[in-house]
Subunit: 213 residues, 2 copies
DNA sequence: TCGAATGTCATTGTTCAACAATAATCGGAT
DNA sequence: ATCCGATTATTGTTGAACAATGACATTCGA
């Protein structure tokens, strides 16, 4: 890996992000500056620097004089996230060229998901599904949109962290993804977008169902 | 002003952002930590905190051990910004309900622009145009998209800062905006989206033309 | 003279310690 | 038991210090 000059703050931020995504830090949990600074062996100032980055990315919530805590996506946040996904992903599919290189990456993600399903490696299935959607977004050829989507995914994983059965969430959509790839290859962008919209709606519903409990 | 708990860092960030948007700080200009800290009467640490916010928002560029400078949008950045605008705004218009309250705000912005044009207050015309598009984006009812768009606008104004004749940029589009409002009221969303796309394309072209020189 | 190696300097990165501001906690009075 | 006020712990902010890095000027050799 070629990292010319990653500041210590962003390194620490990456570590904390990893902890959050892994579920080592739970939503709503408060992060003490002094305690974390000692644990990570950095100064309070540097840790605060990392907090700012993650707060800006939506992974942490910062309340002045009350501290930072792992963001706890509420119903409104999930609805909002899916609204953005719908807007970005559907438009990306609608405007896609049938020969865009990203389509190959989408197909590859589908194959990877199929292989993982055979071995019941549900976590891998989940990762492949995320890869599929990231490739889909890169159809837009916009670094900015891809960056926005990356942040969105991090928050989404926060929400998925509460789901204990990844198979139910990710597995049923492999064939749907495959169909989208085929439609794109044939230039049937509108049908592909419709199919994608249906997937997103269903995914949102099953995620919201968890939050009702 | 009711600001219950705005940290000093974000206050300073707002000040610097204002300076950038006003053109008091020019793209590419280097910002010395010590100098700015003395000028703003805050500590270096607090100023760095503000830098982090603005860097994350794309207004400043940070190069390790070389300092922060006002971002200088290049051709690729402008193209990317307009790609995002196209994606967000067109979809917002396409999915809008004819009775959405934001449409009234759009109409109001058009009227404001017309009045300002009468008085040749071109700066006000420009602000009204920005208000129009912000209202348009709020058709999505997504706080997240509105936040993304706000950041985008700040960067866009950075690019507009190099244009010395705002009349040429903003004035011709007032009637186009008005037409979009009417089409939305009549539920002709697709036509409105087409019209909007044409506007964005033209706006992008005239902005790019400045950069060629 | 030109170019490269070297040393100096200014600036940024990071840490530390202290104090101020604020919120949470606890205890006492009614 | 409830409300009110003081205590306490935590965060916000500051200033100074030192290390790390990059830019610039100087010097030396060919």
């Amino acid at each position: 890996m070629n990292e010319p000059a990653a500041s210590l703050g962003s390194t620490i931020a990456a570590t904390i992000r990893q902890w959050v995504v892994e579920g080592r830090l739970l939503p709503g949990q408060r992060l003490s500056e002094k305690q974390l600074a000692e644990q990570l062996e950095v100064s309070r100032n540097t840790l605060r620097e990392a907090f700012r980055l993650l707060t800006q990315q939506g992974l942490l919530t910062h309340i002045p004089y009350a501290g930072v805590m792992v963001a706890r996506p509420d119903l409104a946040a999930i609805i909002d996230i899916y609204r953005v996904r719908q807007l970005i992903e559907c438009q990306a599919v609608a405007d896609a060229s049938p020969h865009h290189p990203a389509i190959a990456r989408m197909a590859q993600a589908v194959e990877q998901a199929r292989a993982a399903r055979e071995e019941h490696a549900w976590l891998t299935v989940g990762s492949a599904n995320i890869d599929f959607h990231r490739a889909l977004v890169s159809l837009t050829d916009s670094p900015r949109i891809e960056a926005i989507y990356a942040d969105l995914c991090a928050e989404l994983r926060l929400a998925f962290g509460l789901v204990d059965d990844p198979a139910r969430i990710h597995a049923p959509y492999i064939e749907s993804n495959s169909a989208i790839v085929e439609l794109l290859k044939q230039g049937e962008n509108q049908q592909a977008a419709t199919r994608l919209a249906a997937y997103l709606q269903q995914s949102e519903r099953s995620l919201l169902a968890v939050y009702k409990g």
